[in-house]
Amino acid sequence: MTDQTTESISNIVQRFDAKPEMLVQILQAIVQAHGWISEDTKRQLASDLNLSRADVHGVVEYYHDFRTEPPERHIVKICQAEACQAMGSRELTQHATAAVAGDTTVEPVYCLGNCACAPAVMVNGKTIGRVDSSRFDALVAELREIV
């Protein structure tokens, strides 16, 4: 995720005019660019936005999106909500956890809004519908081809 072209934290803060009320948006932009929020980032945001470290920490901890550890190279989110449950997401999740390689983070998500084509998964930010275990295996195989 992180490479030379990744927008710096300072740039992101400036893009939102260093406004404290934009904290959620700033954190979202950081996660999208860097993948996660480090302790250093929290410290920098508190200072740049004139917030207490506790304020920043609280917001980071509150939202599921704001991961505080670097994720693996690929992120696979599997919907665990009711519409997908009705189409076998519990079984798919079991299968998926065993099927992925070590370079993949598998995590739950509660609704991708693709409920008419369940079960749904999100692979590196792309929503995919009608996923059964064989389709899931094909998706994993595609990930392995990405160098």
Binding site: K19, P20, E21, M22, L23, V24, Q25, L27, Q28, G58, V59, Y62, Y63, H64, D65, F66, C79, A81, E82, A83, C84, Q85, A86, M87, V109, Y110, C111, L112, G113, N114, C115, A116, C117, A118, A120, M122, G125, K126, T127, I128, G129, R130
Partner: protein, 515 residues
């Protein structure tokens, strides 16, 4: 040589089953065969079961081909796709598809029809006509029309939109806001997303009308982060509208200033609750506020704020264009107009069906949905998202009407209808309701924060067969506490699905021996 217009949606569901690959294949095949085509990325008509749905315009008629895969494209070209040629996947004119033509498309009428990101196409299809009419009518008459329409909040609470708008219009203060709730977190719902992806300018127009009516010069759209494609479409639509003078200062020389800021959520379900959403829009934790004060009096940054769901707002332009009475003429009792129902889960023909209130769940899942995807009997239907009751077969004929659903301890919510077949274990579904509440609770009030965790534990004991009667009573008592003492609908309504399972599917708790 004439250019043939070929439509393929740029919409999450369609893309999730291959629309982008099909678009690439269409472009490639056209190039190879020397055919001149124009790919039009429309929104989805909402017939998700037919996606990817390709349409080819032949002599002004759009001929549909359903469930097209990239591999089908060479064969389709060989069969004369561009002339509407016959093929196993040819459906015929999209204007004759029964699933679509039998709907009451009031709010979603442009979805699928137009090129979503083309402002020209939007303007050709009544775009910004309602805003201009609103300027002529004046703010008061706009609010009167919304009140006369009987439109109620489509996010779930069903509060009359006209009353809310009037309250904000009458509130003291120079600065007022419109906050559009696009945090569509309920499982089984995707109507907000389809509207935003299929008719983004329509939503922008709706916000501007609301702003004009109540005297707000700024609108916010709070969009959930699980919808990255929607984010990109809406962002582009906002930029396009602003560049063309339909947002910003002195819109089209009218003297009316209005701009829109798009904010992303961060994966918190409770931020769909209006006050939690306002907190999040202010950059804070999405923790529910006490009410009063109502957001209409003290909302975003303490200013009077209209908080409306996407579909609520998007229903307004046609109310202005066609009149509130016309909208109120649809529906039943106090449930006026239409709702975009969403058929989801274990359903053969899932998708969005906009119909007048009063239709039954059975009609929707049988006549539109075609029954379960698995072909097995329906066991339960959850209406209204994770806080909605599970209806047994015997309740499927109750008309979809806010009050009629309230009477049976159910709710229509945002119109999501999730079907389960007879293999579903309803005790697990009751457990999940509590588990989900435990995961997503904002933590401010005890009944929700602690009650949900205790709920999971009690249900686990029941499933294991430990002191079933005693635990049953305890669970009922816990549901009473959560329902009566929680601060918002998260804790207050989590008991709905739980109680419905206790009432209608109690056998599922008793699968093992009692210990």
């Amino acid at each position: 040589m004439s250019v043939t217009r070929v439509y393929i949606p740029r919409e999450t569901t369609s893309i999730s089953v291959g629309a982008d690959e099909v678009a690439l294949a269409l472009a490639r095949e056209a190039k190879q065969s020397g055919a001149a085509i124009q790919l039009v990325r429309n929104g989805s008509w909402g017939a998700c079961w037919l996606e990817p749905l390709v349409e080819v315009e032949v002599d002004g008629v759009r001929i549909a081909y359903s469930n097209v895969e990239a591999d089908d494209v060479p064969g389709l070209f060989a069969a004369g796709l561009l002339e509407g040629g016959d093929h196993a996947k040819r459906l015929g004119p999209v204007s004759e598809v029964p699933y679509l033509i039998s709907q009451d498309r009031w709010t979603f009428w442009r979805c699928g029809l137009t090129e979503a990101l083309s402002l020209d196409d939007f303007l050709l299809h009544q775009g910004f006509k309602a805003l201009q009419k609103a300027w002529d009518m004046g703010a008061d008459a706009v609010i009167d029309a919304v009140t006369a329409s009987g439109l109620r909040g489509r996010g779930g609470a069903g509060f009359p939109a006209g009353i809310k708008w009037r309250t904000v219009a009458d509130a003291e203060g120079e600065q007022k806001y419109i906050a559009c709730n696009a945090d569509e977190g309920d499982s089984g719902t995707f109507s907000d997303r389809m509207l935003m992806e299929g008719d983004p300018f329509g939503l922008l127009e709706a916000l501007a009308i609301a702003g004009f009516a109540v005297g707000a010069n700024k609108g916010y759209i709070y969009l959930r982060s699980e919808y990255p494609l929607t984010n990109s479409i809406l962002s582009r639509a906002i930029d396009t509208a602003r560049d063309a003078g339909w947002l910003g200062a002195d819109i089209q020389g009218s003297g009316f200033d209005f701009d829109i800021e798009l904010h992303l959520g961060a994966g918190s379900y409770v931020c769909g609750e209006e006050t939690a959403m306002l907190e999040s829009l202010e950059g804070k934790k999405g923790i529910v506020r006490y009410k009063p004060p109502l957001p209409a009096h003290e909302g975003l940054f303490g200013k009077p704020t209209v908080v409306n769901n996407v579909v609520t707002l998007a229903s307004v332009p046609n109310i202005i264009n066609l009149g509130g009475e016309r909208y109120a003429g649809m529906g039943v009792n106090r449930s006026k107009g239409t709702l975009a129902f969403q058929l989801a889960g274990n359903i053969k023909r899932g998708g969005l069906v906009e119909k007048s209130f009063g239709i039954s769940v059975r009609e929707l899942i049988e006549e539109y949905g075609g029954g379960t995807a698995s072909g097995r009997p329906v066991k339960a239907v959850q209406v209204g998202g994770p806080l909605g009751a599970y209806l047994p077969e015997s309740q499927l004929d109750i008309p979809l009407d806010y009050e009629a659903f309230g009477e049976i301890g159910a709710m229509i919510g945002h119109g999501g209808i999730v079907v389960f077949d007879d293999t579903a274990d309803m005790a697990q579904q009751a457990r999940f309701a509590m588990e989900f509440c435990a995961i997503e609770s904002c933590g401010k009030c005890t009944p929700c924060r602690i009650g949900s965790t205790r709920g999971v534990e009690v249900i686990d004991r029941m499933i294991k067969g430990e002191k079933r009667d005693e635990n049953y009573d305890l669970l009922v008592e816990l549901c009473d506490t959560m329902e009566n003492a929680s601060l918002c609908a998260m804790g207050g309504m989590t008991p709905y699905p739980v109680r419905s399972v206790l009432k209608h599917f109690a056998d599922d708790f008793a699968s093992g021996p009692e210990k």
